[in-house]
Symmetry: C2
Subunit: 368 residues, 2 copies
């Protein structure tokens, strides 16, 4: 994988600059419009990146601007896709993304699912001919906000070993799961099927520390505590055969079933600059109100979650967090205080503006 | 948990006796009929237990005969349930198991889902007022054999900590995933959301060995390598926050959404001999043929699986196995050679026959 993917971890980035969500949105949106996207679609892509930065998932945020802009420039991504949604049964959709930006295709799929769920109580969509769609949590949250349980997953270029092998077969194939919780924020969790994000291994390289030996294999297929050797090898799936099986089923739904590329077929986003990605996604939504009244459901889910949070934390310093809670707290903080964006991401944004003829306005905020 | 749950691990059981699948089926079926189940339903329950034994999942096999029979005798399980299936939308079913045997309720739900999937392409059922339904793989396989992707999960009495706490909040909340593969055996994987099955910790007690320190916490919430201390504490979810989040979503779908007991509410199968379990299940099926032609799908899935199996195994002695492959091989071997059933399970079967007035015929096979 190109070293550009190594510039995504927040911890190895000093100094950072506080920018407002509005500034970042506008900057990204202008770049995507300059690359040929319609205003509404440019906004969708910008929003998905900003949503990741707000949550502290910098690896999927505006650090992606260089590769997103570059692939648009090279004609590897279609700025104005004619997305085709085929309804093959009352509850099933086949989406052909026409090689559009992943965020555009992803949001289009969410909107197409909603009337299906309203009619049938449950609906699923497979998506082919799409591209990197950012964090899956964004689409899960959009479905949750319409009163649905949501499952959203995507395949990705191979960087992770299947259990029992030392070769990269799967991507880190993320899964987002979401449930409405009533007055509170939605419960949305988003996880890679690998032991850790690649970014944590990169951070260990920068900090000169060792990594636990169950994170990755070196190029010879041996467990390693050396993070550089790990980056030259493969990441391991979480929980051994279990994570590997889940990653496989993500690829079966998002890749094999959708008609998209799957497993080893999927070209590297950074290294392969001649082929479209043809990434596949899978989205599933279930209308909660077909099973429980809202009063009853909210009462029950909050009671259930209380059984977790009212427990005794393992250490005095730790509060018990629900899945996705840290990211949601980060988002709330970003909305009020802004985002601490690494300076090299700011530089990448400035460069992308320059490349696309967009005037770059420096963020009017103090450095951290 | 009652020590009866400790009698489930195969490795601490010598000697065992080879019995035929037919003998075991008949013996179990006779017991359940004597406990008031109709012949067809007695056969369903027997089959689910035998399916587990055949796969080598002895913890969910006929070792359960004593507790299953006992709860029927005590009137804690309804031998003749009037299972009510409510269709609340074209693709959604609410099932009330009327406190029937889990296997009976589970198979009833599978049959109710099939016409829904045929119409809408996708369907889901929540199940309340059910009981322990054995291995989830059985129901997933039944749906896969009808051409569906299947997801089947169940909640269970609390034995596992939520991430960050030392209290048992969740059961080991298993998930089975399945896909048709054409001429080959179906691809079905069935996993607990805990690091390991409780049976492996019990085995370590019997063998006098230590356990890895990431399997369980002792009663003080500290990681322990002592298996006895682990059994007095809680099992940990696999992959920390990830497994914990997945276990939570299983309980949200199978428990909270279904109307069944959830999380800490669920009474212990062995210790609580006064209340029905009110276990909840969740089943989801998607008609593969609404997305791909069978020729195309089988070609693609087998190509994808080949990318795993044609890799280099990590050690010369290891063959790369697909998810569920070991269990499927065990099943094939059991069908031809019989099942090596631990002698104390044979004794439990004999006792259950005696308790129910069923004549016990000793298996006519050689001991191992």
């Amino acid at each position: 994988m190109d070293k550009k993917t190594l510039t995504v971890s927040p911890a190895n980035r000093k100094p950072s600059i506080m920018v407002s969500v509005q500034w970042l949105m506008l900057c990204l949106q202008n770049i995507f419009q300059a690359r040929g996207l319609a205003p509404e679609q440019a906004k969708q892509v910008a929003d998905v990146l900003v949503q990741a930065d707000m949550r502290g998932i910098y690896s999927h945020g505006s650090s992606r601007i260089t590769i997103y802009s570059d692939r648009l420039k090279r004609g590897l991504v279609n700025p104005n896709p004619k997305i085709v949604v085929s309804q093959t049964a009352p509850g099933t959709l086949l989406v052909d993304g026409d090689n559009g930006m992943g965020a555009v295709v992803g949001h289009h799929t969410v909107q197409a699912l909603l009337p299906r769920v309203a009619e049938t109580g449950i609906a699923a969509a497979t998506v082919q001919r799409s591209n990197h769609f950012g964090i899956a949590a964004v689409y899960a949250e959009a479905l949750v906000n319409e009163g649905c349980f949501a499952l959203v997953c995507s395949n990705a270029p191979p960087t992770m070993a299947a259990y029992g092998t030392n070769e990269a077969v799967f991507g880190t194939n993320p899964i987002a799961l979401g449930m409405p919780m009533g007055n509170q924020k939605p419960l949305v969790t988003d996880m890679a099927t690998s032991v850790v994000a690649r970014g944590k291994i990169i951070r260990a390289v920068h900090e000169g520390t060792e990594i636990p030996k169950d994170w990755a294999l070196n190029a010879h297929g041996e467990p390693t505590t050396n993070p550089t050797d790990a980056l030259n090898g493969v990441i391991l799936p979480f929980a051994g055969p279990k994570g590997s099986a889940i990653a496989l089923f993500v690829d079966l739904l998002a890749g094999v079933l959708s008609g998209a590329n799957y497993a080893k077929q999927t070209p590297d986003l950074y290294r392969n600059l001649s082929d479209p990605s043809d990434i596949g996604h899978f989205m599933l939504a279930i209308d909660i109100s077909r099973f429980q009244s809202w009063d009853s459901f909210y009462s029950r889910i909050n009671d259930c979650l209380g059984m977790i949070t009212e427990g005794t934390p393992l250490s005095d310093t730790n509060e018990i967090k629900l899945p996705g809670q840290i990211e949601m707290e980060n988002k709330m903080k970003a909305l009020s205080d802004g985002i601490a964006l690494p300076t090299d991401v700011i530089q990448a944004l400035e460069q992308a503006c320059q490349d696309t003829g967009v005037s770059f306005t420096a963020p009017h905020t103090s450095s951290e």
